[in-house]
């Protein structure tokens, strides 16, 4: 699953603004060719991390490697190989969208006219309008077209689809999958979980400037308990005592509980001996994973199962 070469490697990254600690030992590793989801609650340090990667902010501690260089010292050299889309796009009010796209492309050393035209068409952007008259979604499209038309080997996307309508969101997802198929690497910070679930190979979840979870979606799910609903002829004996099982609720013949992967064998044995009629298992959605790490527990409270991601 994991490629040997990493495109982004952040170790113990620290950044303070005055007395406020924005990043406190953040870890992030993005492998070549993957789409990497970068998640975290508002103010957790995602944008600060991306701005450090862009060499706009200077890290106070830790190691940072971007492509084959240092994001601060080699900024200009590295920027030939990456494109960036901010979540809050502010454009020069008296330039048209088309002019902004061409300007950013010219700085990067040229543009594929065909692809530019194609992207403008796909995103249904009017390039003649002045930036001051664009809506938020349209400003976002300008930045997306400029970045996607560049064929950069790394895309740094900081909530790139905020303000896009669902049709444009679909266009964006297509574009990212095409980029991925072409072997490009994407770091995608987003709050749109369906987008992350569709696009991302691996995730890093951060909170308060620290990495709290990383891995593939399957791995993250594996580390979290799955919810089960079983219907049995007799009550299930001693289910709550099985290590790794939590939240047992008995409602007549129906029992609901959550179980960690290592508890499944024992759980099945006990359920079977109680005369199972039906069994439904539901893996945690990304949203549930998310809520756990963002600090808001899902409806049924989970007890710590002993592994690292409890809080």
């Amino acid at each position: 699953m994991r490629s040997t070469e990493s495109v982004i490697e952040l170790r113990g990254l620290r950044k303070a603004f005055g007395t406020t600690l924005a990043l406190d030992g953040l870890e992030l590793e993005v492998a070549r060719g993957e789409v990497h989801g970068f998640l975290g609650p508002n103010g957790s340090g995602k944008s600060v991390t991306i701005r450090i990667l862009l060499g706009l902010l200077r890290r106070d501690g830790g190691q940072a490697r971007l492509l084959d260089g240092d994001p601060w010292a080699d900024a200009v050299h590295l920027h030939r190989r990456l494109a960036y889309v901010p979540g809050d796009v502010n454009l020069w009010p008296n330039l048209s969208g088309g002019e902004v796209i061409d300007l950013l492309a010219a700085l990067r050393g040229g543009i594929d006219r065909g692809r530019r035209a194609e992207l403008i068409e796909r995103f249904e952007l009017d390039p003649r309008k002045k930036a001051s008259t664009y809506s938020k979604g349209n400003r976002q499209k300008v930045a997306l077209v400029a970045a996607l038309a560049s064929d950069a080997e790394l895309l740094l996307l900081d909530e790139p689809t905020s303000g896009l309508d669902p049709l444009m969101e679909a266009v964006f997802q297509d574009c990212i999958l095409e980029r991925k198929a072409a072997g490009r690497t994407v770091l995608l910070s987003s709050h749109i979980l369906a987008e992350v679930e569709t696009l991302c190979d691996r995730l890093t979840i951060i909170r308060a400037g620290r990495t709290v979870e990383r891995g593939t979606l399957a791995e993250l799910r594996h580390m979290t308990r799955t919810s089960y609903t079983v219907e049995t002829e007799r009550p299930v004996d001693g289910l709550a005592t099985v290590p790794g099982v939590a939240g047992v609720i008995v409602d007549g013949q129906v029992t609901r509980f959550e179980a960690a992967p290592e508890a499944i064998g024992e759980v099945l044995r006990r359920v079977q001996s109680a005369g199972v009629r039906s069994l439904v298992g539901q893996p945690p959605t990304l949203e549930e994973l998310f809520l756990r790490h963002y600090g808001v527990e899902p409806a049924a409270p989970l007890e710590p199962s002993g592994d690292a991601h409890s809080h």
Partner: protein
């Protein structure tokens, strides 16, 4: 009746918000203006202590076109008091200052606020359509009252009469509010705060020229200029209180006009509609210099028009100054004492100083534009491209500094042409043009220091304006007030030889250019060492 009150709903809250936002700015304006007046009042009192000194001043200044252009009609100089002398030296500049305060502060709380996204949040609350404008004007009125009160109090404290102090304070308030109202109307016509400020400041420039021409002619033309309304109050020269009605009535009328214009336009829009742009960039936009040219173009052209108009005006009036010489032997002696330059040359040297100050003001505003680009987040996509920070800042510096030098040349040539046309001396074109060009090191040094502030101490970037204000005050008032040289040497303009009235000296020019180069280089180093953004 109901709609009227509804359109003002929330004004009081917004006024409190405006005063809260300006709780540092207003005291800075008030204190620095009061300090300038206090310093001047003290010097004039000491310099013109005897009747002989005062009548000497009056002989030199009365009916002298060059002085009238800079200062005003010279009310009360028939039997000069220190108050009348102080007003003649100072009033026009303080009136310009309160006008600038009125313009900038009004735009800041009305049109500039409307450009931001937060204005929609405010308007979505139960806040009336005219509440922001009314609150903005009220905030300006508070600031102007404080400023006028501080100035009047300081005059009384320095030993000047109370009636004149009250009259001058009232004149400052009236003119300040008249320009606030002009700015309010400009903010309805233009759809950006920069354009609104540009329109209102152009009106200020026109007001200066109109009153200068009117005062020299001695006719009614001056009454077309709001600056004259302030001077017509005649503080310390037999006060004419009725003149105060003019700015206040005009202010009320303009506010009404602004209100009806506001009813006719969309929120966020102006009366002048936006045209569509190009679908593709031309080759000229390709790169940082192209972008910087595009960003600075509008403002630079506006300043160029203003400088050219002022230059032509100074040139044409220069001839009047010469004719005055025939009637005023004292002036001829005075000039002979200065080193033998002609009165036309002395006058044109003042003109080039004013043009140089304008170029400096332009350059400071253009350099601060760079900082605005950064805080607005517009520089992020540029620096995310393979473009170094040094390339980014130098693109702005090169364009802004070239524009400033071009302004000098345009203003100088315009003054030269104006003077050549009226005096018939064609050689003046080249001489005045070169004299203005020789000013270049002063605005360049000022701009480079402003850049160094932006790069090394971005929180203090606005202090560049203080440096400019100090330079302007020293440049325009130092001689009249007899300021000590350690004070005046702060201004780069003091080190430039006053061409064409005195001979050229290369050393100060070279030193100033070196200061500019060192500051710019230090700024380039500093900008690569700090975080980019709203630091």
């Amino acid at each position: 009746m109901r709609t009227r009150t509804e359109s003002l709903a929330g004004s009081i809250r917004l006024l409190r918000l405006a005063l809260r936002r300006d709780r540092v700015r207003i005291p800075i304006w008030v204190l620095s203006t009061a300090a300038m007046v206090g310093l001047s009042a003290g010097s004039v009192r000491d310099l013109y202590a005897t009747a002989e000194q005062r009548s000497g001043y009056a002989r030199l200044v009365r009916d002298n076109a060059a002085m009238i252009v800079q200062a005003g009609p010279g009310y009360g100089l028939d039997e000069p008091t220190v108050g009348a002398i102080l007003m003649n030296e100072l009033s026009v500049w303080i009136l310009i200052l309160v006008a600038v305060l009125g313009v900038m502060m009004t735009t800041r709380h009305t049109r500039a606020e409307e450009e931001t996204l937060r204005a929609e949040l405010v308007r979505s609350a139960p806040v009336g359509r005219h509440a922001a404008a009314v609150a903005g004007m009220a905030a300006v009125a508070v600031a102007q009252l404080l400023l006028a009160g501080a100035v009047a109090a300081l005059l009384v404290a320095t030993g000047y009469g109370a009636a004149g102090a009250a009259a001058f304070g009232a004149a400052l308030f009236g003119v300040g509010m008249a320009f606030a109202a002009i700015s309010l109307v400009a903010g309805q016509v233009a759809s950006t705060s920069r354009a609104a400020n540009g329109l209102a400041l152009a009106a200020l420039g026109a007001a200066f020229v109109i009153r200068a021409v009117g005062d020299v002619q001695g006719g009614w033309l001056s009454w077309a200029s709001p600056i004259h309304w302030g001077q017509a109050v005649r503080a310390y020269a037999g006060e004419r209180w009725l003149a105060l009605a003019v700015p206040l009535v005009v202010c009320a009328a303009l506010v009404t006009i602004a209100g009806s214009l506001a009813d006719r336009r969309d929120f966020g829009g102006g009366l002048l509609a936006q045209r569509p742009g190009r679908a593709e960039a031309t080759a000229r936009l390709a790169g940082p210099i192209g972008l910087a040219l595009r960003l600075h173009r509008g403002a630079a052209v506006g300043w160029a028009v203003g400088v050219a108009a002022l230059g032509v005006f100074y040139g044409i009036v220069a001839d009047e100054a010469e004719q005055m010489l025939v009637d005023n032997p004292q002036m001829a002696d005075y000039l002979a004492g200065l080193g033998g330059g002609s009165i036309v040359d002395a006058f044109l040297a003042t003109g080039t100083l004013v043009i140089g100050l304008l170029a400096g003001g332009y350059l400071v505003s253009a350099v601060l534009r760079m900082r605005a680009e950064e805080t607005a987040g517009r520089v992020d996509p540029l620096l995310a491209a393979p473009m170094s920070r040094v390339r980014w800042v130098t693109s702005h510096l090169v364009v802004a500094m070239s524009a400033a030098v071009a302004l000098l040349l345009i203003g100088g040539l315009a003054a030269g042409v104006g003077a050549a046309l009226t005096t018939g001396d064609g050689a003046l074109v080249g001489r005045v043009g070169l004299a203005a060009l020789a000013m270049a090191p002063a605005p360049l040094a000022l701009g480079a220091v402003a850049f160094l502030l932006c790069a090394a101490a971005p929180r203090w970037a606005m202090a560049a304006w203080a440096l400019f204000g100090l330079s302007a005050a020293i440049g325009l008032l130092a001689d009249a007030l007899g300021l000590p040289s350690w004070v005046t040497s702060v201004s780069p303009y003091r080190h430039i030889p006053a061409l064409p009235a005195v001979p050229f000296r290369a050393l100060p020019i070279v030193v100033l250019l070196m200061v500019a180069a060192i500051a710019a280089a230090a700024g380039c180093i500093a900008i690569t060492r700090r975080d980019i953004g709203r630091v």
